[in-house]
C-alpha cells in the first residue's frame, strides 16, 4: 500500500507522519491539497496541524479542498483513510465520520501525554495491538472535545465504532480526559472500519531514540494492513 499524506495550507505534522510510515517499512508520499487525484496512492493519512489556521472551525475550510474529492471516492470504495488530530476534525466536517470536535472543555490548548485504551484491535492502525491494551502517547490540540447527539453516541458504542478511549491510570494527577469528550472518546471509525479518526499523535512518539516508540505500532499495523490487502 502507498500512503498519501495530505498537506493543506497550515498542515504542520506531515514530515513526522511520512517518517513514521517509512520507519514502519511503508511507502508514503506528500500530496498537495490542490491535487484532484491521489497520485496512485491507495491509502490516505490526513495529518495534524492547523489547516487554514483552524479559522472558523478546525477542518471547516479544508473540507472543501479539491483533494477531498478523490479521498471521499477512496473512502466510499473501502480504501483506508486515517485522520490524525486536525485530520480527524476534517473527516468530521466532511461527514466521513459522525459528530464534531469542539473547543476543549477547559477552553485551553492541551499539550501532554494521554493514556488511551485500544478498543478495537482489528483495524488498519490497531491490528498490531491487543484489544484493551493501554498506551501513553502525546496529544496536542485546542479543539478535541468530541460531541455527537445521544443516538449517534449510543450507536458508536453499540456497533463498537469507538477505536481509542481516554483512560485514567493510577498515580496520574491530570484529568484522564483532556478535553471533555463524550464517553472519553479519543478516536472512532465509520461502520465499514476503513475511515478512522483520532486526536492523539502516535507519529510523534514512533522512534526509540525519543525514549519511547509507543506510537510505532500504529504504523506497522497500517503497513501490515496494506500487505494483507494486497495478498488477500
Amino acid at each position: 500500500m502507498r500512503i498519501a499524506v495530505i498537506r493543506f495550507p497550515g498542515t504542520n505534522c506531515e514530515t513526522e507522519t511520512i517518517e513514521a510510515v517509512r520507519r514502519a517499512g511503508g511507502a508514503a508520499q506528500l500530496i498537495d491539497y490542490r491535487e484532484t487525484s491521489l497520485g496512485g496512492c491507495d491509502g490516505v493519512i490526513l495529518p495534524g496541524g492547523f489547516s487554514y489556521g483552524d479559522y472558523l472551525r478546525s477542518g471547516a475550510i479544508a473540507r472543501f479542498a479539491p483533494v477531498m474529492q478523490p479521498i471521499k471516492a477512496l473512502a466510499d470504495t473501502g480504501g483506508i483513510v486515517i485522520g490524525i488530530c486536525n485530520g480527524f476534525q476534517v473527516l468530521c466536517e466532511a461527514h466521513l465520520l459522525p459528530g464534531a470536535l469542539l473547543h476543549n472543555a477547559a477552553q485551553r490548548f492541551s499539550s501532554r501525554p494521554v493514556d488511551i485504551r485500544i478498543e478495537r484491535a482489528d483495524l488498519a492502525v490497531t491490528r498490531e495491538f491487543a484489544e484493551g491494551e493501554c498506551i501513553r502517547i502525546p496529544q496536542a490540540h485546542g479543539e478535541g472535545r468530541y460531541v455527537a447527539d445521544a443516538e449517534t453516541v449510543a450507536a458508536l458504542e453499540a456497533d463498537r465504532h469507538v477505536v481509542l478511549r481516554y483512560v485514567s491510570v493510577p498515580g496520574s494527577d491530570m484529568p484522564h480526559n483532556p478535553n471533555g469528550s463524550v464517553a472519553d472518546i479519543a478516536g472512532i471509525c465509520n461502520p465499514a472500519g476503513n475511515v478512522i479518526g483520532f486526536m492523539p499523535h502516535p507519529e510523534r512518539l514512533a522512534d526509540p531514540v525519543l525514549g519511547s516508540d509507543a506510537g510505532h505500532r500504529f504504523f506497522t499495523s497500517l503497513v501490515q494492513a496494506g500487505a494483507v490487502e494486497m495478498t488477500g
Binding site: 501525554p113 502525546p138 498515580g171 525519543l210
Partner: protein, 763 residues
C-alpha cells in the same frame, strides 16, 4: 521612478514644527544632527517619521552600543555573530543552529494576547530569515502577583498568545521561565526565543547589493498596525502613552506558516540575493538596514506597496508594523521565479523598489520624491549617549540588610516555597504549548533544559532561558555572572555542552544613573561568565524604559543558551528514576541565604548579597556533568537554584509534569558543611551545585571524576520508595514530607490562583 533630488511635502501634510519633532521623541540635538545630515534643510514628515523610528532606542541602541561592544562574540563555533537577524553556531556534520531572543514587553502591556503572539511571530521570522527552519521556541515571562485580576488577565492572555502562535506554526515550545514580582505589575515582560537548524552552507545574510537589483515585498499587505511601535517601545508607559497607543498589531500565524515555507524555498532555490523580515519600524528598518549593510542606496515606491486600507500615506506605509511581511532583494530576471514560488504558498510578491548606487535612502510616492536621506548615517549616525552610571544608595542598603522576620520552621517553609508561583510547577503554562510537534522533542518542558534532535542525526540541541532578576537587583555584576552560570548548569545537567548565548536585556530608564549602573554591571558580569565558559554572545535584544508609574522593573537580563548533546540517547533527566539510587551533591555548600527565594518568598525580604559566582568552579561542574552523562553514569541531574537544596530535592522526588509516581528520599546532612545553619543548608542558594542520582556502583567513579576536576561529590543518601516520604536528617534533627503532598502543592499553586475569572475589560 523619480529624478528630483529635493523631497517635497505631500498636499495636506502637516508642516514639521518643533512640537511635531518632540512628538516623534527626537531631542533637539538629534534634530540638529538630522538637519545637518540633510544639508541643513527641514525634513519632510515622512523623513521625520523614518528618523524617529531608526533613531529610537529600539533600533539605534544609542544608549547601549558602547556597552554591548564589550561582549565576547567570537569562537571557533561562531558562524554568525551579532548584527544579523539571528546568531548562528556550527554543529557536527555540516549542520548549524540559528537562534535569537527578543522582547515584546510594551505591546503585551497594551494587549497581552496579540502582544505576546506577535512577539513569537517576530522572533520566528528572525530565525527563518537566516535560512534556518525553526525547530523550537522558548519564552521568558514576568508578571505582577496573581492575586491581582489585572495581572491574571495579562498572564493568561500572554500565555495563550505565545501558545496559539507557536502551536499554529508547528514549532514545539521546549523551555522557558515564569516569575512573578510586584515590579512587573505595570510592566510585564514577554521575551520569546526561537531556535532553528540549517545546513551551514545554506546560511544567508541580509545584505542588499547589486545596483539595479529589485526590492520585493513578500507576504501580508500593509495596514496601519503598530505605527510608531518602535518609538512606542522606547518611552515610559504612562496614561498619556496609553492614549497615543498605536493600532494594535494582530498576528496571523496561518499566514506566517506559509511565509515561512515560501521564504525557505526562496532561499534554498538560490534565486534571491538577500532577505530580511519586517519587524520594528517595518519597511523602514528592513530596507534601510539591508542597504546600509550592503553599502548601497535604495529607492522605494510606497505607492506600489500592497495596502490593507485605502489612502495610506508614505509615512504610514514606511512605519507600519503589520506582521508577516518580508523584504527580498533579487536580480530583475528572477522576479517571475520568485513570484511563482510565492504563489505556490499563496503569498503576494510585489516589486516595491530597487538598489541604487548613490547611497541614498529615497522614497517615492506616485512619482513624487517624499524622502531622500544619506543611507549610512541614517542607520548608524544617531548620536550615541554615555549616560551616568551610579549605584543608588537604597541598592547598597538592600544588599547590606537582613530579614526582619524570624526563621520559619523548615517543614512549613518548604511548603510555602513550593506554593510560591515563581517556584511552583509551570505545568499550567507549558501544557498550553505544543511540545511534541515535529516528532523530534527529546526533552520537553519540565526538566532543566529542552532538547530537540537535529533531523535524523544522533545529536541534539539543548536549550534554556534563565534570569534570576532578584540576584541581579541585589548585585548586578555577580547576578549577571549568575544568570549565565545557571543557564550553563541547566544545559550541562542534561549532558550537553554549552555553545553560546543570546541575551534579552530588560531594564528601566537608562537616563537614570542607578538603572544604567545595573545595565553596565550586569553586562560586565555576563561578559566575564561567557569568556570563562567559552560561550560567546551571538546576538540579542535590548528593552529599556521598562518603567511604569510605580517605578522601574528589577533588572532582568534574560539569557538564552544553546548546547550540544552528542548523543540524544544519553540525555539525562532531571528527576529521580530508581528506588535505591544514590543521591550525590556536587559543589560546595556555604549556606548562602542572601537574595534567596526563602528570604524573598517566605520572609518577604528581598535583601542581602546574592551568592558569589566562582566561574572556574562552575566550569568544572559543567565538565563533570558532561563527562558523567557520556559515560552513562547518571540516573538524573538537577541544578540547585531558587529554593536551594530543599526545592531541588523535592523536584527530583515528585517527578516530571506528567509523572505517575513520586519517590521518597532519605538524606543525611551530618558530616557535611557542619558550620552551616539548618536553613542555610536547606534553602541557601550557593551557586555551582547540582543534585545527582546514580546507581550505587557508580558512586565511587563519580566521586573520583569530581575530584579530578577539583570538586567534591558528597554522598547524601538514597532514593526512597514510590509514594514515600522525603526525609532530611541532620544530627538530632529530622524533617519529613510525604512526596505526594509536595507534588500536589507544587502543581496546584498556579492553577488554583488562575481558577478565578480573568477580566478582558478595564485595561
Amino acid at each position: 521612478m523619480s529624478h528630483e533630488t529635493r523631497p517635497t511635502a505631500l498636499p495636506g501634510e502637516p508642516p514639521v514644527t518643533e512640537e511635531l519633532v518632540r512628538d516623534h521623541k527626537l531631542t533637539d540635538s538629534e534634530y540638529t544632527a538630522i538637519r545637518s545630515l540633510l544639508g541643513d534643510r527641514t525634513p519632510t514628515l515622512t523623513e521625520l517619521g523614518i528618523f524617529s523610528a531608526l533613531w529610537s532606542e529600539h533600533c539605534s541602541y544609542k544608549h547601549t552600543k558602547p556597552v554591548l561592544r564589550r561582549f565576547p562574540t567570537t569562537g571557533p563555533q561562531v558562524l554568525q555573530g551579532p548584527g544579523e537577524n539571528a546568531g548562528v553556531l556550527s554543529l557536527p556534520d555540516g549542520w548549524a543552529v540559528a537562534f535569537k531572543i527578543e522582547s515584546h514587553n510594551h505591546p503585551t502591556a497594551v494587549e497581552p494576547y496579540q502582544g505576546a503572539a506577535t512577539g513569537v511571530g517576530g522572533i520566528l521570522r528572525d530565525v527563518f530569515t537566516m535560512g534556518a527552519r525553526p525547530v523550537a521556541l522558548l519564552n521568558s515571562l514576568r508578571f505582577g502577583p496573581l492575586d491581582d485580576p489585572r495581572n491574571r488577565y495579562l498572564f493568561a492572555g500572554a500565555v495563550r498568545g505565545v501558545g496559539d502562535y507557536g502551536n499554529c506554526m508547528g514549532v514545539p515550545t521546549l523551555g522557558g521561565e515564569v516569575q512573578f514580582a510586584p515590579c512587573y505589575a505595570g510592566n510585564p515582560l514577554v521575551n520569546a526565543m526561537a531556535v532553528g537548524v540549517l545546513r551551514a552552507d545554506d546560511l544567508i545574510t541580509a545584505r542588499a547589493h547589486g545596483v539595479g537589483n529589485l526590492l520585493i515585498n513578500v507576504g501580508a499587505s500593509t495596514g496601519r498596525d503598530g505605527i510608531h511601535g518602535a518609538s512606542f517601545a522606547s518611552e515610559d508607559l504612562s496614561a498619556e502613552s496609553e492614549a497615543r497607543r498605536p493600532q494594535v498589531q494582530v498576528g496571523d500565524p496561518f499566514t506566517e506558516k506559509l511565509l515561512l515555507e515560501a521564504s525557505l524555498e526562496l532561499i534554498e532555490s538560490g534565486i534571491i540575493v538577500a532577505i530580511q523580515d519586517m519587524g520594528a519600524a517595518g519597511l523602514t528598518s528592513s530596507s534601510a538596514e539591508m542597504a546600509a549593510r550592503g553599502g548601497v542606496g535604495v529607492e522605494l515606491d510606497t505607492s506600489l506597496v500592497p495596502t490593507r486600507e485605502a489612502g495610506m500615506t508614505p509615512y504610514e506605509i514606511m512605519l507600519s508594523e503589520s506582521q508577516e511581511r518580508m523584504l527580498v532583494v533579487a536580480e530583475p530576471h528572477q522576479v517571475e521565479a520568485i513570484q511563482a514560488i510565492c504563489r505556490k504558498w499563496e503569498q503576494d510578491a510585489t516589486v516595491v523598489g530597487r538598489v541604487t548606487d548613490d547611497g541614498l535612502f529615497r522614497i517615492v510616492h506616485h512619482g513624487q520624491l517624499v524622502a531622500s536621506i544619506p543611507g549610512q548615517p541614517l542607520v548608524d549616525g544617531c548620536p550615541v549617549y554615555h549616560p551616568d552610571a551610579a549605584e543608588g544608595p537604597e541598592a547598597v542598603a538592600r544588599r547590606a540588610a537582613t530579614p526582619g522576620a524570624p526563621d520559619v520552621d523548615p517543614e512549613e517553609a518548604l511548603r510555602r516555597l513550593l506554593d510560591a508561583p515563581s517556584i511552583a510547577s509551570k505545568r499550567w503554562v507549558f501544557e498550553q504549548y505544543d511540545g511534541t510537534v515535529r516528532g523530534r522533542s527529546v526533552a520537553t518542558p519540565g526538566g532543566d533544559a529542552g532538547i530537540v534532535r537535529v533531523d535524523d542525526t544522533d545529536f541534539g540541541i539543548a536549550m534554556t532561558v534563565d534570569c534570576n532578576a532578584r540576584h541581579v537587583l541585589l548585585d548586578p555584576f555577580e547576578g549577571g555572572k549568575g544568570v549565565v552560570a545557571e543557564a550553563a548548569r541547566n544545559i550541562a545537567c542534561t549532558g550537553a555542552r554549552p555553545l553560546g548565548i543570546t541575551d534579552c536585556l530588560n531594564f528601566g530608564n537608562p537616563e537614570r544613573p542607578e538603572v544604567f549602573f545595573q545595565f553596565v554591571e550586569a553586562c560586565r558580569g555576563i561578559s566575564e561568565a561567557c569568556e570563562a565558559f567559552g560561550t560567546p554572545v551571538t546576538g540579542g535584544n535590548v528593552s529599556l524604559y521598562n518603567q511604569s508609574p510605580t517605578g522601574a522593573i528589577d533588572p532582568t537580563p534574560t539569557v538564552g543558551m544553546i548546547g550540544l548533546l552528542d548523543d540524544v540517547r544519553h540525555a539525562v533527566p532531571s528527576t529521580f528514576r530508581q528506588v535505591g539510587d544514590a543521591i550525590l551533591l556536587i559543589g560546595t555548600t556555604r549556606g548562602h541565604l542572601g537574595g534567596s527565594a526563602y528570604w524573598a518568598e517566605v520572609l518577604d525580604a528581598v535583601v542581602g548579597p546574592p551568592p558569589p559566582i566562582d566561574l572556574p568552579r562552575e566550569r568544572a561542574v559543567q565538565e563533570i556533568l558532561i563527562a558523567a552523562a557520556a559515560k552513562g553514569w547518571l540516573g538524573s541531574a538537577h541544578d540547585l537554584s531558587d529554593g536551594g537544596l530543599a526545592v531541588a530535592l523535592t523536584e527530583c522526588c515528585i517527578g516530571g509534569p506528567w509523572a505517575t509516581v513520586t519517590f521518597g528520599a532519605d538524606i543525611d546532612l551530618a558530616r557535611h558543611a557542619d558550620a552551616v545553619s539548618d536553613h542555610g543548608w536547606l534553602f541557601g542558594e550557593d551557586a555551582g551545585r547540582v543534585l545527582l542520582s546514580c546507581s550505587p556502583e557508580h558512586v565511587s567513579a563519580l566521586q573520583a571524576l569530581a575530584a579530578m576536576h577539583g570538586e567534591s561529590a558528597h554522598y547524601l543518601g538514597l532514593v526512597g520508595e514510590p509514594e514515600g516520604d522525603v526525609v532530611v536528617r541532620r544530627d538530632d534533627r529530622r524533617w519529613s514530607w510525604p512526596s505526594r503532598d509536595l507534588r500536589r502543592i507544587h502543581l496546584d499553586a498556579i492553577p488554583r490562583r488562575m481558577s478565578v475569572p480573568v477580566l478582558a475589560g478595564e485595561s
